[in-house]
Amino acid sequence: MESMMALVVGGLYAAAIYMMLRRSIVKLVIGLVLLGNAANLLIFTSGGLTRGAPPLVPDGAAMPAGAVADPLAQALILTAIVIGFGVLAFAVVLIHRAYEVVGADDMDRMKDTDT
């Protein structure tokens, strides 16, 4: 299963980077979202894939009975997803504002500092 996940992660990375290398700023944003997903999956998979054993402690027990999925990787990703959304929201509003001022979404036309 890890091999297939590696393929998915690699594909997401490739798509993200390709989009980030475009001149259109909208495509850059799409690339950013894909990159976030790719990185989260990378961390998730390297923490180990476990089926049907969420990191929960049953009622009355001090710790889970058997092996559970790595909780640390999950905690990291949870933080990353939320922060990624914050950054994205800011970026999208910024781009919209920049478009209003510059009148183009071509990044080659956003090089001047004074408009």
């Binding site: 890890e2 590696a6 259109s24 799409i30 997903n37 990378l42 559970v68 905690a75 781009i95």
Partner: protein, 773 residues
Amino acid sequence: MLLAVLSGFLLAAVAPWLVPRLGAHAGRVLALLPVGLFLWFASLLPAVGGGETLLWEYAWVPGLDVQLGFLVDGLSLLFALLISGIGALVTLYAGSYLAGHRDLARFFVWLLAFMASMLGLVLSDGLIALFVFWELTSITSFLLIGFAHEDKTARQAALQGLFVTVGGGLALLAGFVLLALAAGGWSLSAVLDAGDAVREHAHYAVIAWLIFLGAFTKSAQVPFHFWLPNAMAAPTPVSAYLHSATMVKAGVYLLARFQPALGGTDLWVFTLTLVGAATLFTGALLALRSSGMKRMLAYSTVMALGTLTLLAGIGGETAAIAFVAFLLAHSLYKGALFLIAGVIDHETGCREVPEMGGFGRAMPVSFAVAVLAALSAAGVMPLFGFIAKELLFESALGLAAWQPVVLTLTLAGLVGGVAVAAVVGLRPWIGRPVTTPREPHEAPLDLLAGPALLALLGLLFGLLPGLAERGLLAAAAGAVHGQAVTPNLALWHGLNLPLAMSALTLVAGLLVAWRWDGIRKMLVGLGFVERFGAERGYDAGMLGLVRVAAWQTRLLQNGHLRYYILTTLSATALLLVYALVTRHAVIPPWSSSGVRLYEVVIGAVVLMAALVAVTTRSRLGAVASLGAAGFGVALIYVLFSAPDVGITQVLIETLTVLMLVLVLFRLPSFLGLTPGRIKLRDASISLTIGGLMSWLLLDAVAAHHQGSISRYFVENAVPAGHGQNIVNVILVDFRALDTLGEIVVLGLAAIGVYAMIKLRAEDRRRRGKEEPR
């Protein structure tokens, strides 16, 4: 001790306030500090002269076990006395020389700061502290050379001095780090105790060369000698103090200081004797070629520094004694001569030696002082310079390898040295009086006190060499040599080879001085010095540096975000390949065991969605497929035991799609901006990096072990965190501070978004108001 070193900085800090209030007495009052320091250092003489080594230690960074230590042995006390003594005389002199200058306060700030840095340099026991003070002397020297900052030459000379000495300082820092690693300690005491370990260390040659570079640049050795004469753009008291008596000696101080630990090897002896002899000769030649009095003195300082390097290279008991004797003699006579050059400039307005003559009648005291100092410089009996010169010959004769070359260069250089001393000591004073910009008259006491005292000390130590020897020189030579020595300095050693050589240089030097005008014209005629000199190399180097900077700025700072991304990614990919290939050369085998069909379907959906998002030309299509990929990822989280992450991903993905749809549709639709060729290039780059990431992940999974940190969280979630959902306990309890940071980031983003929307609304309102007009 700490106060002694830092008091100069403290006084420098209040000098801007103090100097205008003291008026004409500023120099006299400020000189009290160096006088006090001199007396305090002199009070250490009996102990140190008796062979003791004093050590003061203060905790600096106790957490890292870093001490601020001060080491006082013969060598550092000799330097400290010279620095504070000449410092007092120069401060007094400068108060009168620059009287009424509008930047006098600024001058004293830098002069005092320099004095404190120099004291710190020679007294530091720690290598790091030594380096910091070393750089401080470079910086204060830069400020003092550029004191007349409205003058372009002064600015250029200051920059040149800074680049050369600080460039050498960088090498020195690297050398110190390696040295400390080799010696196993960061203090001079540790390095000096570990001499054998350092000399046999695998990096010995590198250490020695890096320290050589630092010392050679600071002490103006060939081929770095060119900055020193240019530094004469500084006011004369500065030239006398920094560029003859103290700062330029920092390099040779370093060589002498490390001689017991690093010296004695073939590399050490060979490099230092040859560079020293070459510098000695070059300095003499260039001094005879110059006409400005300060410039001549500057080149003769280069010559003296070459001599000191040569002596540090030769090593052994005689050379160590010669080193400290010559150091003392040179500081005394060269300080005096420089100050006299300032007196002549101040009282007559003349700077060029060929334009001087007959001042002796109007300025008899200056004349007497100049002759006395010049006699010491030429090494005439019974002055102290004579003793130093005899010892120099004796050491050079004891050299085993390269003796003929070194001896020839030394003899020829010293003939030049005698000639320079004769020209400077006689030429301005005798002969027919010439017309000068100002009517020559005797200088005031403040200006004469310094040079007169220095010149008289040269005579005193010559007549009573035992005084200097018992007081300090024996202990100083012992520190250079690494073990106790018995110098037995005396004026008369009997009729021997050194005496004959001394006489030879005197006669030949006087002949050269007599015919100086013709010889100078001939030397000036040799144009190759301008065309192929070391300064040319410096200029070319600076020009090349600027060109490379312009070229790489155009290349890297091109203003296109995608090229920045490309550069960053390529560099990361290269590092990644390097790490993967060197550590785990094989790609882990493909394993499809235990894969269930629905998992393959989800993976395929994610990949397909990403592909569509990349290739579609419809904005709605791109956003929709982006959402599809995101929900697919959420399903993967849920399937592999991460329900919380899955729920969050679904929520966030929904919000993202909504936001993109709302905002992006106010933007124009996609344009085909890029030609196919570049698309192909970008596609291959992204596929390469994607493949690398797959490889990295396979590698990481193959090496995976559930680490101890995760196990700690699993075991302690209920007992310590009182929560059954381990992921939640980590977020709000174990790593609560991280979560707080996350909340701050979100808050900031929210404020940013709000501000920008508000801004837009205001813009619109303003436009609405403007339109009716």
